[in-house]
Symmetry: C2
Subunit: 235 residues, 2 copies
DNA sequence: CGCGCGATTGATTCGGCTCAATAACTGTGG
DNA sequence: CCACAGTTATTGAGCCGAATCAATCGCGCG
């Protein structure tokens, strides 16, 4: 399943300046380059598996990823998304715990793997990178708290509207206002913790209300203020 | 509301060796001691407020704390708990974002406040402390992910059983198997995202099933394996 | 003793899930 | 290029978990 693409180089990686590696000196970048591996993944491939140990982090050179857990009834719960320039697997690496979630590609993707030893070396030598990681983790923790409150308190309708806005912020809209990610109805349901049928019904209501337009897996955001109101967001 | 207690000293703080400060050299401990402040809080007092900025972290010398958000309908959502030896406020401090949650005491508590400058100094000088923070944050993030999946997928009955077990793990049982924390029915509801009436009904069912015993706010865990089963936990 | 908050119980309602049937779509091989 | 098989999406019906609403109770405290 894995093909060997042109090995991307960190030095020329287009997403480096948007990533946690943006402040790293060129010498260290060369070290990373020398120690890393790189792989191509087809759509839907699993990158790592909840419960396993991990021996490094993955840096997304290209592509889109979902991070998810499997609940006690075997149902997928999407925890977060990652895209070009993002890293995944760092939580388990840093806590030295088993992976709390799995990761799979949502489209064809190229990922670099940076081994643990290299990451820890940079953490030690580079206060700037270290601090970036602290910032990243604490930011994520804040996001998680907001998700918790929403899941606990908001009805499905509001959560779906909010998710669409979240997807917009993560993957952006194209010139035609389409969210730049194609998810199945089931995946949408697995973000907000509901049944696929509920997502389908609500999407068609949103469409009727002219908040969005739907064409297959393509979702166009027609009325963002309206969606924000529907999501019951006021800050 | 705030009284001035005996100022506790980090050097003799009983919970230091259980905390993130356990590996810190005695010279640095003296620095913390010199820069910190300390306050007594009555039960129910708010320590900090969601949305505000924070200029340091609080270290719990004594007492029990809830960290919570207010949802869009004004309802409290308890995100996590903290107790002796734990620190709070570090998420917002490290991410340099506004506080994502508020904190309030669940009983009389004594908290030390360590200013930002001191924390950042230790972070820079002490790789060990730095690494402890990375570990703490990434551990928390893993916990948060599990909470998200549970909230999204488990029915209220399972969530309540799971919460009781979580409270046991956090605050431990006394010799009589009572959970060492007294929460109102409403607070229990605000952990699991349900209505107080549902908590009440389920607690009395659990009691009928001999899983627990209830006496006012005192909850005794009679059958932990049974509760685990009720919570649908198998790992 | 009475006020007021928290706890309890019952009745009712409703959001959202499940189940079932059908339709649309995707990729595959002939 | 079309037929077929296997997904994925849609729609409808019915049910159920849990929320809401409404009393009542209990008790701690001034």
């Amino acid at each position: 399943m894995k093909k060997k693409p042109e090995m991307p180089h960190c030095e020329t990686c287009g997403s480096r300046d948007k990533s946690v590696f943006c402040g790293i000196a060129s010498g260290e970048i060369k070290d990373i380059d020398a120690s890393k591996g790189c792989n191509f993944y087809n759509k839907g491939q699993v990158i790592f598996h909840e419960g396993n140990r991990i021996s490094g982090i993955y840096c997304i050179n290209k592509g889109k990823i979902k991070i998810f857990q499997i609940g006690s009834e075997g149902k997928e719960q999407i925890i977060r998304f990652a895209k070009e320039g993002d890293i995944i697997g760092y939580r388990a690496l840093l806590s030295e715990e088993p992976l709390s979630a799995s990761a799979a590609t949502l489209e064809e993707s190229t990922l670099c793997f940076i081994p643990k030893s290299q990451i820890f070396k940079i953490l030690q030598d580079n206060p700037n990178f270290n601090f970036k990681m602290l910032k990243l983790l604490s930011h994520e923790l804040g996001e998680a708290a907001r998700v918790i409150t929403d899941l606990a308190q908001k009805p499905v309708r509001e959560r779906l509207a909010e998710s669409l806005l979240l997807l917009k912020d993560t993957f952006e809209l194209d010139d035609d206002k389409n969210i730049q990610i194609k998810l199945s109805r089931e995946e949408l349901a697995n973000i907000i913790g509901t049944a696929t049928e509920s997502v389908i019904r609500l999407l068609s209501e949103f469409k009727k209300d002219k908040l969005i337009d739907v064409d297959g897996r393509n979702i166009k955001l027609l009325n963002i203020p309206g969606l924000t109101r529907t999501a019951n967001i006021f800050d």
